[in-house]
Subunit: 316 residues, 2 copies
């Protein structure tokens, strides 16, 4: 039996816990144990509670094979729940394999355990994670990433993908496959996390040159903006503008322009515009440019995007 500990706390996102628990309880040899800073019953975000949680101590946790740290919508903000970091410190000490779901990555980051490593978190929080912990190599697109003994996973439902990858690691692909099929989920979903991002929002820029470049773009979002044209318009070198964008927004100007166009295109496609009209109104110009940008960012075509996100009912 491998002992798998979950770290939970008040307002934890229930699916971050119940998704992996469903997967692991369907495999043969995992014993699931729930820990929380306070012990006892914990109430989750959805009103469902987790009862019988234990307060971690080094004696209890030394037999732990794997730790899974759940997330919460409130987690990146502060103050964090009392005792959470201390509980995580005890649980991660000497534990063979350490995983996080969604914003649970912030707890590992705060302990310094992800420094120099590849990691991911919910797409909404990826920019924040990268800014607050610049030594982490944040991949906002991937659904789960294994780096040494650490595994981090993307937003909420990605905890299921994470747990399947743990079962595959321990028992091989066919054991994981059987559970995926029973649970009616893919073993490997098409595309990454980026396809789930809605309208992109970056924190407002504090640098006045970046602010000016953004307002030039915003005034004419279908225009033919490039790094060169924006740098010219704000009277700095392309190299300087690139450096400022990276510092302020963590992204190159060219990529930022593409993200803004994609964000508009996503909206037009879901509003029922044709691919050609979308390409025109979002500043991509040609259908082909639109398709390439979609494929690069979302690993799917605009038509597939419409099929996945326009309705829960079959629309075409």
């Amino acid at each position: 039996m491998r002992k798998v500990g979950f770290l939970v706390f008040d307002d934890v996102t229930m699916l971050d816990v119940s998704g992996p628990a469903e997967v692991l309880s369907r495999a043969t040899d995992y014993e699931l144990v729930y820990f929380s800073p306070t012990g006892g019953s914990i109430s989750s975000n959805s009103g469902l509670s987790v009862s019988g949680t234990l307060i971690p101590d080094l004696e209890l946790t030394k037999s732990l094979d794997t730790l899974i740290i759940a997330g919460s919508d409130a987690l990146p903000g502060s103050p964090w729940p009392d005792g959470l970091i201390e509980a995580a410190r005890i649980l991660t000490t000497g534990t063979h394999r350490i995983a996080s779901v969604c914003t649970g990555a912030f707890i590992l980051a705060e302990l310094g355990l992800l420094n120099g490593r590849h990691a991911t978190t919910h797409w909404k929080n990826a920019q924040d994670l990268a800014r607050r912990y610049p030594k982490i190599r944040v991949d906002a697109d991937i659904l789960h990433v294994h780096d040494g003994q650490f595994i981090t996973s993307a937003g909420i439902s990605a905890g299921i993908d994470l747990a399947l990858s743990i079962v595959e690691e321990d028992h091989g692909a066919s054991a994981a496959r059987e559970i995926a099929q029973e649970m009616v989920v893919f073993m490997h979903r098409p595309g990454g996390q980026s396809q789930f991002t809605g309208a992109y929002s970056y924190s407002p820029a504090s640098n006045s040159i970046v602010q000016k470049a953004i307002s030039i773009f915003d005034a004419d979002p279908t225009g033919e903006h490039t790094l060169v044209s924006l740098a010219h318009a704000v009277s700095v070198s392309t190299r300087h503008l690139s450096r400022l964008f990276q510092q302020e927004l963590g992204i190159t100007p060219a990529r930022w322009i593409e993200r803004m166009r994609l964000s508009r295109a996503q909206k037009f496609i879901l509003d029922g515009f044709t691919i050609s009209a979308t390409a025109q109104h979002s500043g991509f110009g040609s259908d082909e440019n639109l398709r390439r940008a979609f494929s690069r960012s979302f690993h799917m075509s605009p038509t597939e995007y419409r099929a996945r996100f326009s309705s829960t009912f079959r629309t075409f």
Copy 2:
């Protein structure tokens, strides 16, 4: 506020409950109430418990807008938990909209509420549902089906798809989309439930003619079997053999032959055989026949199937 009641019971599949609860608690105006035959705390299949459940009575349930009945791996078998059917009878009386997740459909079926309607359940249990309740039009492929006031959904994780469709019904597609994106799930997943089926197993045939036809196929699974060749081999008319297959297995002989070939092809593809070798060894003959059969049954190509189900890690 719309009051949504969940019917849960001991050994309930936790994700059948927590999946929809996660969706609905992220929408603005649902109040979630949990009912069980015995009231109090209920322990789920994964060790997580649901506490504070109420015993249903007509007074309590008359304000219910929607009822969601969860499933359990044990549910289709008997005996069912004490009081479950009676609790469901009370909860379904006068309730505006009634939904089931996974094997929860068996409870609605037992109450006769799905007679004459389209319905679905976990792919593992679809044949059983159709046999035990022949008045239900069972669609084993779909992820959720709405028929009048009744909504049934496929296996386990399809409860999330179901709840998103309820949010879309009540608040429009963009409200549902925002929740899907937050939870990192599709609004409409590619394909249906059939793509998740593993090796197909039918209950053994009791009719000796059907048995004989099956053993002729099994002795040479790559052979060019057809309805005509099998009928000839067992010395009955094609019409008679078709009728016997339908009665015994709920499927036509041609479709049964295709399912058996697909089952072998799925295995070969996951074992790493090329598409051509798979087509040959599974009796499809040509790559094109294999592709067509995959597309018809799983709404994806053999290559896509490999990408979705060979590993939780990116393999190519």
